[in-house]
């Protein structure tokens, strides 16, 4: 099982009855898998804050609940998280934060272990899928034992690795109940919050004692004369590269078992803390002994690897800094290999919008999701990407601060992102009379994370029909009067609407609506690919400006024999990738791009 599947399995085994979250790599598959288990009411929430608050309600009603998100999602959900330790949870509440060391698919690599410390809640860090399953079960138990939400902190390497899992029978889920009105505990007015703060301290002291005794915090004796303290996936790298080291493997990493660490340090004198990203554990225990070291030897930037751990331990033990040689004594791989960044899919219907924006507009604030991919060559049609919903606010800020007469700033945002965090931003634009254009690219799904439905998709997580919700009516209700919807595959229409929207004085919203090409209904459509007629192509390269991955430049010397040689080269369309969207054919002034059937 993958780590994500194992968390889902653990939820099922723990008798979890409610699950929610927002898609985000690497966390997404947890909720998708939970939805496959009987008896767990599962839904995608519009954002992580909503998800956590919903789950806290379900817990009040006696349902063990789990909330899943990526690391930056916890920033959004941090508001309720900070106070849930005060109120307590009722039935067990597990918050899964899937961090992304190495920034495989994120905007940063923040270390969310700090959240546990800050929110004063227990945290578990599994090291593989079996632990992901087991720790999920334990997390529910600990949550109820101390009446606190528990942070289950995993990383990309845990989420997306498959390791062997031993499944167990599920416990019987708790019975539904109507919550009692314990207002002293649940109404956080200052007087109650001050009392709750004191009570929380008592629970934290008990928890600290629990952490010292917790059997999953364990010492593995080795023969070496130094010790290693580690947690999460770093444990695996330590076992891989220094099997003779004595290891203190920590599973419950908030609160840290300080007594256990102290004893381990006394036994070994020299102790290296091996942890990914920040010196979260090291900073909390360095005061115990000058022999405890960590980030002086282990990098705090990016994902750890066996190599980095090997180098770090060797440096710590023998005093020799890493030389760059690998385990096998071989130089690393090839350098200067041409990069292969992700790009908008072939046939993405929203590509034409970016082409028009790049021609007609000046500054384009971007957002999270696929549409970020239009930032690169050749479209270069997205100029910022900060957080979910940020582009609208950024465009407004630019408009308020820019010199008079400057071109209207534009914000582009996807449908799911707009519902997640764009609606309040747009309301702020209207309220404060900002003259910007907001383009909502509505592909009917949350595409970047693998096509999870959202309130505009028409289905819920189970694929059942959901209520009909109109994006245009939301936009109008927020106070925008100039709203136009366009099918982005109608290139002339897109051009015209963008021109009108740019000319309008005041907030304007353009909705480009066309389903994602990865959705099954699109995939099943018959494709009629295009081809380039070498006799007509002049090599002008205008078609390459749309950045379609199935359309590429074929230099003249590589052109196949028999074709008329061109001075520079001609365009070539990959028949296996072309979806037949026809955007390139629309742009070609020489009618050189034709359907294969007509060519």
């Amino acid at each position: 099982m993958s780590g994500n599947e194992a968390v889902a399995r653990g939820s099922f085994e723990a008798g979890c009855r409610f699950a929610t979250g927002y898609p985000g790599t690497p966390s997404t598959e947890i909720l998708e898998n939970i939805a496959g288990y009987e008896g767990i009411s599962t839904n995608w929430a519009v954002n992580e804050k909503v998800a956590l608050e919903t789950a806290s309600g379900a817990c009040l009603a006696g349902a063990r609940s789990i909330v899943t998100m990526k690391h930056v999602g916890l920033n959004v959900a941090s508001d309720p998280l900070m106070t849930l330790a005060y109120t307590g949870v009722g039935a067990g509440l597990v918050v899964v934060s899937a961090d992304d060391p190495g920034i495989h698919s994120s905007q940063n690599e923040q270390d969310n272990r700090w959240y546990a410390l800050m929110a004063k809640i227990p945290m578990l860090e599994p090291s593989d899928s079996e632990e992901a399953r087991l720790f999920t079960v334990k997390a529910f138990e600990i949550s109820e034992l101390f009446d606190l939400p528990v942070l289950l902190r995993i990383t990309t390497r845990i989420s997306h690795s498959r390791t062997v899992v031993f499944i167990e029978e599920p416990v019987k889920p708790g019975r539904p109940m109507y919550p009692g009105k314990e207002t002293d505990r649940h109404v956080m007015v200052p007087a109650n919050a001050r009392t709750a703060r004191l009570a929380l301290e008592g629970r934290l002291q008990k928890l600290a004692r629990f952490s010292e005794q917790f059997p999953l915090n364990r010492t593995e004796k080795g023969t070496a004369n130094y010790g290693i303290i580690t947690s999460g996936v770093s444990y695996q790298y330590v076992k891989e590269v220094v099997p003779d080291a004595s290891v203190l493997k920590l599973s419950l990493t908030n609160p840290l078992p300080v007594g256990l660490i102290k004893k381990f340090t006394e036994d070994f004198k020299r102790v290296l803390v091996v942890e990914e990203l920040d010196p979260y554990m090291e900073m909390q225990v360095r005061y115990l002994s000058p022999g405890i070291r960590g980030k002086a030897f282990i990098p705090s930037i990016s994902e750890l690897t066996p190599e980095k751990v090997r180098d770090g331990v060797r440096w710590f033990v023998a005093g020799t800094p890493p030389s760059g040689a690998t385990a096998a004594g071989q130089g690393s791989g090839a350098t200067d290999v041409i990069g292969r960044p992700p790009i908008l899919c072939p046939g993405c219907p929203h590509r034409s919008l970016f082409y028009q924006l790049s021609k007609q507009c000046s500054f384009i604030a971007g957002d999270m999701g696929c549409y970020t991919l239009a930032y690169d060559e050749p479209l270069k049609a997205v100029h910022t990407c900060l957080t979910m919903g940020a582009g609208i606010g950024q465009a407004m800020g630019i408009e308020k601060a820019m010199p008079e007469g400057g071109k209207k700033p534009v914000a582009v945002i996807g449908d799911s992102t707009f519902l997640h965090s764009g609606m309040t931003e747009l309301l702020n634009v209207v309220y404060n009379r900002s003259n910007i254009l907001v383009v909502i690219l509505d592909n009917r799904t949350t595409a970047m994370t693998g096509a999870q439905p959202n309130p505009l998709s028409g289905t819920d997580i189970y694929g059942n029909a959901s209520p009909d919700i109109s994006l245009e009516r939301i936009v109008r209700a927020l106070g925008v009067h100039w709203v136009e919807t366009v099918d982005p595959s109608e290139t002339r229409q897109v051009e015209k609407v963008v021109k009108e929207a740019m000319a309008f004085q005041g907030p304007a919203v353009v909705v480009t609506r066309a389903p994602c090409v990865l959705l099954p209904e699109f995939r099943e459509k018959k494709r009629e690919p295009y081809t380039v007629r070498p006799d007509l192509c002049t090599g002008c390269t205008i078609c390459l400006n749309i950045g379609c991955p199935s359309l590429w430049w074929e230099p003249a010397e590589e052109s196949a024999a028999g074709r008329k040689k061109r001075p520079r080269g001609i365009a070539y369309i990959d028949p296996a990738g072309c979806t037949g969207c026809g955007l390139c054919a629309d742009l070609c002034s020489f009618n050189a791009i034709v359907r294969i059937a007509d060519g």
Partner: protein, 196 residues
């Protein structure tokens, strides 16, 4: 049964089926009673980026990722990706190199040329490796619908000690529609090196 640690790296471009090929490798090893760990990096990669999957199997596996210079096998589904991944392979390792190219954006836009002589560069970096060509072009000419990932897996399978039937079972389990996958695998299997 060999219970030494065997590490395989599968690499290619988003959409080529790197992850599913690695899934099959992992399930074959698991069915043979070995400890297995498999790790992917995909994330944004389904949009045409590089995808790398690691499969490690043996008596007891700790790290889910393969250390540079230690992989026994590198299965590349695209030529340039073989070059990108060669650092993982150990000297005396085996690379399965396809004659199949997907130009990365800079090449597609005409800014740079697709690098030539990749096999030569691989051997420069790891002189002791065995470079096994996968004739994808030839396969696609004969069978345009066949899949490159299962074809390459078929070639790879001949280097491992498992029965053909075990592979076919794993493929059937992995894919709902598996007819083409099976055919592609068998096509590769027939062209792999039989060193047993």
């Amino acid at each position: 049964m060999d219970r030494m640690v065997t590490s395989t790296v599968v690499t290619g471009v988003g959409g080529q089926g790197v992850v599913s090929a690695a899934d099959v490798v992992a399930s074959v090893a698991f069915d043979a009673g070995l400890d297995v760990k498999k790790s992917d990096i995909h994330g944004m990669a389904q949009r045409g980026g590089t995808v790398v999957s690691f499969v490690r199997c043996g008596e007891k596996i700790y790290s889910p990722i393969v250390e540079q210079g230690t992989a026994d096998f590198l299965i590349a589904l695209e030529e340039l990706e073989a070059l990108r991944g060669i650092g993982f392979l150990k000297d005396r390792g085996v690379v399965i190199l396809p004659n199949f190219r997907i130009p990365p954006p800079e090449v597609a836009l005409g800014y740079r040329a697709y690098p030539g002589n990749i096999e030569g560069r691989l051997l420069e970096i790891r002189p002791g490796i065995e470079c096994h060509e996968a004739d994808v072009k030839g396969m696609l000419k004969q069978h345009p619908g066949y899949s490159i990932n299962m074809f390459s897996l078929g070639i790879y399978a001949r280097f491992l000690p498992y029965e053909k039937a075990v592979w076919l079972d794993a493929i059937r389990q992995r894919f709902k529609k598996h007819d083409t996958a099976i055919d592609s695998f068998l096509y590769g299997y027939a062209r792999g090196t039989d060193d047993s």
